[in-house]
């Protein structure tokens, strides 16, 4: 009977195509929402994987997490270097990695940190070595790809964190690329990593050796070169200071790992209550952010379901009118030996097939659109959204569409099945 149903659908090409299109649009919309929500959630959770707590200046905890873990927002401010030393000696802390933000190159953030950050994001060197000497930098895979920078390439960082930031460049303290990371799909792909001391040097901040990083030679030279004609405006974490204003070494944030689960209970509340610092949990803040999106996603999902119901109604109307004109054909099938159940099944199959084709096309279209958007829209690619893989929920959408098709067909199928053959045959 599948051949017959296919023939009936192809006989009314335009009606079938329009019904398929209507339902496919709603399925595509549902799939897009599902994929967007799931991929965003995954990217957020992946990005924060291995980071138990973020310490920074007081302010919005979400902003602190966004700026320090995902490198999306402006930092809340700087914190004293001494905080890092204190936390390193805290028995509840397994590791503490400093971050010093403030500059960018071609829109990619320059992050002063330690090479342990690579492990935090499970990043491995694709070529070169890690940063050791002052002004050496390791770049993420996206930075290398988009700027075309290779090993040995020199570049000058600019003040501010946004690509279009109008800060001055640090012409006297150019960085040199000494390593390129393998792609990870995490925020580190879009970062330029260097030592914290190099960030201080670029900004002309005098510092002792062996503080945030092990001994390095030449920091004084770099700092002096900076001081020769430093004139900073407002730019990121190292934003507000004049040319002659004495600056002390500071960092922007600290990424912590707990030594034991008990630390999760004690450490954040102790820091938030008793110090001038702020402790924020990436897991909690990510969940909070996802929750913020939820009402909008639910509203759009509701609209898509409404659209799907309209599609089902269109299938019902098409089948109902087709059954009126196909009464004779179906009577003939009965004469030839088809049972009433077979007639019912034929009509039901027509509704189900229409809906299944529409759903499959809708899901394909959604994945195609995601791929297209990730290839052509910078912000989508940057957010780590791609074509994605088939989710179990999409199988549920297919099943739901089939059920909707069956529901749309059940009344026409029932009516035709109950038809009395004698009057129909008599009419003809």
């Amino acid at each position: 009977m599948i051949g017959l149903v296919k023939a009936y659908l192809l006989e009314r090409k335009l009606t079938t195509a329009l019904n398929v299109l209507l339902l496919a649009i709603s399925v595509a919309m549902l799939t897009l929402l599902l994929q967007f929500a799931r991929q965003s959630e995954e990217r957020f959770l992946e990005g924060a994987e291995g980071i138990d707590l973020v310490i920074g200046a007081k302010g919005s905890p979400l902003q602190l997490v966004l700026s320090s873990v995902y490198h999306l927002d402006q930092p809340t401010g700087n914190i004293p270097l001494s905080a890092l030393e204190r936390l390193r000696h805290n028995p509840l802390v397994a590791s503490a990695i400093p971050l010093a933000l403030g500059d960018q190159f071609a829109g990619f953030r320059i992050v002063g940190t330690k090479s342990e950050l690579f492990d935090l994001y499970s990043a491995k060197l694709q070529s070169g070595k890690t940063f050791e000497a002052p002004l050496e930098a390791v770049i993420g895979s996206a930075v290398a790809e988009e700027t075309g920078a290779g090993l040995g390439q020199r570049f000058i960082g600019s003040h501010g964190l946004a690509e279009n930031a109008e800060g001055q460049g640090h012409e006297h303290t150019p960085f040199i690329v000494v390593g390129i990371l393998e792609p990870t799909g995490k925020p580190i792909d879009r970062l330029i990593l260097t030592s914290v001391e190099s960030v201080w040097d670029v900004h002309g901040i005098q510092h002792d050796h062996g503080t945030a990083e092990d001994d390095h030679d030449g920091h004084e030279d770099a700092a002096e070169a900076h001081h020769a004609d430093a004139d900073h405006g407002s730019h990121g974490a190292y934003g507000v200071h004049g040319p002659r204003e004495p600056m002390v070494p500071e960092i922007t944030a600290i990424l912590l790992n707990y030594r034991s689960p008990a630390a999760a209970v004690r450490l954040p509340s102790t820091i938030n209550r008793n110090t001038a610092l702020q402790a924020a949990s990436p897991a909690q803040e990510s969940s909070r952010l996802i929750l913020l999106f939820e009402p909008a996603i639910e509203a759009l999902g509701g609209f898509a379901v409404l659209l799907a119901a309209t599609g089902a109604l269109a299938i019902f109307v098409a089948l109902w009118s087709a059954m009126r004109s196909r009464e004779g054909d179906l009577a003939l099938l009965r004469v030839m030996g088809a049972s009433r159940a077979a007639i019912f099944g034929t009509v039901l199959l027509e509704g189900v097939m229409t809906a299944l084709v529409a759903a499959a096309l809708g899901i394909l279209a959604a994945h195609g659109l995601l791929w297209l958007a990730s290839e052509t829209l910078h912000s989508v690619g940057e957010a780590g959204i791609g074509p994605g893989h088939l989710l179990p929920e999409e199988i549920a959408i297919l099943a739901g569409a089939a059920a909707l098709g069956a529901l749309a067909a059940v009344i026409p199928a029932w009516t035709v099945m109950r038809n009395n053959l004698a009057p129909i045959l008599g009419r003809n």
Binding site: G3, E11, D329, L332, L333, V335, G337, S339, N428
Partner: protein, 219 residues
């Protein structure tokens, strides 16, 4: 040996009797014309023989199997095994080509039919070149032949033709009548033609004149 046997069959629509104590017997290989004006009960008789309707009284047997009683599924099974019907206008499934129409009929009747069998039958009908044509692409004569091919592909014991010539001119009516008789002879099928077309009388040796549900004359 009788293939079709109607015994004292009566049927009424509401209060109007359509058939009254109707008796009829067709033996294997018979070719019978049932003549009667509109409303004489021909269509009702076909519906009863096919098992679409149950008689108010009397019995109908086909090849020894009772089609006038039992469940709809049982009556469907008897019809599927023994009967093919060619209607005046309900001929072919519009969405399928001719070959697919024949395959579908065979599948529904649960008969093993090969593509070669279908081709041979269409060749016999002179419409092999139209195997992949949709019904609307055929002339009236070709459509009629295709409908006959669809009816015969299931190798029925009894072929019923309902008003096969009503819309045809004398020449085409003559052609169809001859074709029906020839095919029933070639395929060894018992033939029952129900019509009001007097032009067919001369082609049949067995004629039942029906008037208001009563047999007026059997020749």
């Amino acid at each position: 040996m009788s293939l079709l046997e109607l015994h004292q069959v009566s049927y009424r629509y509401g209060r109007s009797p359509v058939l009254r104590d109707f008796d009829m017997t067709l033996d294997v290989g018979d070719r019978c014309l049932m003549l009667g004006p509109s409303g004489s009960g021909k269509s009702t008789l076909i519906n009863l023989v096919c098992g679409f309707l149950k008689p108010d009284s009397g019995t109908i047997d086909i090849a020894g199997q009772r089609i006038s009683e039992g469940s709809e599924a049982a009556r469907d099974a008897v019809r599927r095994r023994h009967i093919s019907v060619v209607f005046q206008s309900l001929r072919l499934v519009s969405a399928l080509d001719i070959k697919a129409n024949l395959s579908l009929a065979a599948r529904l009747a649960r008969r093993e039919v090969t593509p070669r069998d279908i081709h041979a039958l269409l060749e016999e009908m002179g419409i092999a070149g139209k195997a992949h044509a949709k019904p609307y692409m055929l002339s009236q004569g070709e459509a009629q032949r295709a409908a006959l091919a669809r009816a015969l592909v299931v190798k029925p014991d009894l072929l019923i033709a309902d008003e096969p010539t009503s819309a045809l001119d004398a020449r085409n009516a003559e052609t169809v009548a001859r074709l029906l008789l020839d095919l029933s002879h070639t395929h060894g099928t018992t033939l029952l033609v129900a019509t009001h077309d007097e032009r067919l009388r001369s082609h049949f040796s067995q004629v039942i004149d029906l008037h208001a549900g009563v047999v007026e004359q059997i020749v």
